[in-house]
């Protein structure tokens, strides 16, 4: 029975290479059919191992991998109907673009004319027609990537697995190829699983972002969810764009609590998703860098802004549409404000200036 459903379920998947340490440690995840899913985490977090287990290049030590309702553990990649795009593309150096793309059909015993015709159709899809007779070594990085994509896609997989597909490209090309990946995914209408360590890449592409650390999933959700509402300090710091502060709870007042901090009145934090806190708990909170406003001491805070922390400007970086201002607001953690360019240059600060870092009460987010 052949089915084209590319939904994936990982149930208690574990992997250990030496029997003692677990590279992947009890991962449970559901990926919808036709989703673009990005696994993100630092190197060694197990994301590539998960990809290779879904692909059938490694067997899990424990757990089930279900694709389209069928447990695929122990099956070859072709039987799983998955295809993998390798990090360095792994194009066969002795075969032309056309032959590389036709390889999967060749090993299935398709006749030469049929398979080359099919390959040519695929070549057209990835816009490589004029390079069809070249060897991989004669192509640029971006062209090689398209060949790798076409070679994987010609097997008509229901899941395409991409191992850091953009890491070999330079910055500009990376942004361009990123769009191309998304376009191909929509065109093919199949599930893509993409491993990366670049946050921007993950949130730009994915329907489902999975943040990993040491073999475990830290948070999985829509890109905006993971970026704007990180569960904990690890996710907040890893995804970036957040200032993380910690402190002890001074008092609890209904739907919010006050965090003892350098600020004279403490920091007021709404409870939001966090169920409860008690006085004396040590709590981490996150404040988005673009939610922080800087006000000169003595001036009025904008309406709705209650917290203000006196800080000294440590460094300033111009980033184009915003200015990155680094502050010594909290002793142990980095604290940064992203100030819109026009706001900043209306009254520019210099290094060493004392400013008040302030934000609207509602934008502080308690972390787990």
């Amino acid at each position: 029975m052949k089915n084209d459903r590319g939904d994936i379920e990982l149930a208690g998947v574990c992997k250990s290479f030496d029997g003692a340490t677990y590279v992947v440690d009890g991962v449970n995840l559901r990926i919808a059919d036709g989703a673009y899913c990005c696994f993100i985490g630092p190197s060694g977090c197990g994301k590539t191992t998960i990809l290779r287990m879904i692909a059938g290049h490694e067997d899990p030590t424990a757990g089930e991998i279900v694709i389209g309702g069928q447990n695929v553990v122990g099956l070859a990649p072709v039987q799983r109907r998955t295809a993998m795009m390798f990090q360095s593309y792994a194009l066969f150096p002795h075969l032309t673009v056309r032959e590389n793309i036709a390889f999967a059909l060749r090993v299935r015993g398709m006749s030469k004319t049929d398979r080359l015709r099919a390959a040519d159709a695929m070549i057209e899809k990835v816009r490589l027609t004029q390079f069809a007779d070249r060897l991989p070594a004669q192509l640029s990085g971006g062209q090689q990537q398209r060949v790798a994509l076409a070679r994987a896609a010609i097997t008509e997989p229901r899941v395409l697995l991409l191992d850091e597909p953009l890491s070999a490209l330079d910055e500009q090309l990376r942004v361009q190829m990123r769009q191309e990946l998304r376009r191909m995914q929509q065109e093919l209408g199949i599930t893509f699983i993409h491993v990366t360590h670049t946050q921007l890449e993950a949130i730009a592409l994915a329907d489902l972002v999975v943040v990993m650390e040491q073999g475990k999933i830290k948070q999985a959700g829509a890109a905006r969810d993971v970026y704007a509402h990180p569960h904990d300090r690890y996710v907040a710091e890893f995804m970036g764009g957040q200032n993380v502060l910690s402190g002890r709870v001074e008092k609890v007042n209904g739907a919010s609590f006050t965090l003892a901090q350098v600020a004279p009145d403490g920091i007021e934090v709404p409870l939001q998703a966090r169920p409860t806190v008690s006085v004396g708990d040590k709590v981490d909170i996150a404040v988005r860098r673009d939610d922080v406003a800087l006000v000169r001491p003595g001036r009025d805070l904008p309406p709705g802004y209650t917290t203000s922390l006196p800080s000294r400007v440590l460094a300033i970086e111009y980033q184009g549409y915003f200015v990155k201002v680094m502050l010594d607001t909290v002793p142990d953690d980095e604290f940064v404000a992203y100030v819109p360019e026009k706001t900043f240059f209306a009254d520019p600060f210099t290094v060493g200036d004392v400013v008040m870092a302030t934000w609207a009460t509602g934008s502080a987010l308690p972390l787990a």
């Binding site: 072709v78 792994a90 150096p93 390889f103 999967a104 097997t155």
Partner: protein, 296 residues
Amino acid sequence: MSAVLADMPETVAPATSKAIAPSKGGRPWTFYVLATLFGLYVIALYGPMFCIYILSFQDIRGGLVFPMKGHSLHWFVDLFTQVRTGDVKGSFDRSIKLAVIVTVITVVVSFLAGLGFRKRFRGDTFVFYMMIGSLVAPGLVLGLGTGLLFQALGLNASWYSSALGAQLSWTLPFGVLVMFAVMSRFDHVWEEAAYDLGASRWQSIRLVMIPVLAPGLVAVALFGFTLSYDEFARSLQTAGSLNTLPLEIWSMTLNVTSPSLYALGTVTTIVSFIVIGASLGSIVLIQKKRGSQAKG
């Protein structure tokens, strides 16, 4: 201490013209020293051979030493027609056949060993040293031992059995070492990609591995062939009653006192060059074929 330090600037020598730097686009003097050294090396390497080649083209009055007496191909004709010079044609035949058999076995076994050693396994270091250990044994002793073993087993020594075995003890370790160097350039991920695209083990070896490694395999074959074709020490006690070419040349040095000997040297060299030329040619052809396909 401080007085010494204070004196330092004056003791520093000024830059001299001896520093190695090209002057006005010319070559530094070291170039000429090294070029002379290289010239001497080349003369030492090829001079003796050229003496033999030149003396083999003398006419009927020719002797074993310079000066050269006339020019002709007399001694080449003599080589293949005279009985007293020994069985040159027969030994040449045997040497070529033996070298071909040795080459085939060396390439196949080395390739398989290369496949086996892609991944580490328990005792791999031990197996590796067992494979190349025989390189250390003196060839003459190894040949003697092979001869004795055949005698003890009641087998007749001959070029296609005992000599073949003795030669393989020489070519296989070399072949394996070259193969390892060749294999180190094969990226394991190509095999993985082939598997991912549905290739069987055999298809991935036939369609990916062998074509990618082809130039290296030709190099292993060339090694096997030339080592066997030249082999003397191990064949001496194992070839039995019929000589291989190096043995024949050796026996000629003992009883032939004419430039025929030199003519034989020239002929074998030409054969070696043809083999080397064919191997290099095939490597170039493989690469050119890829190049032209690429131009399309």
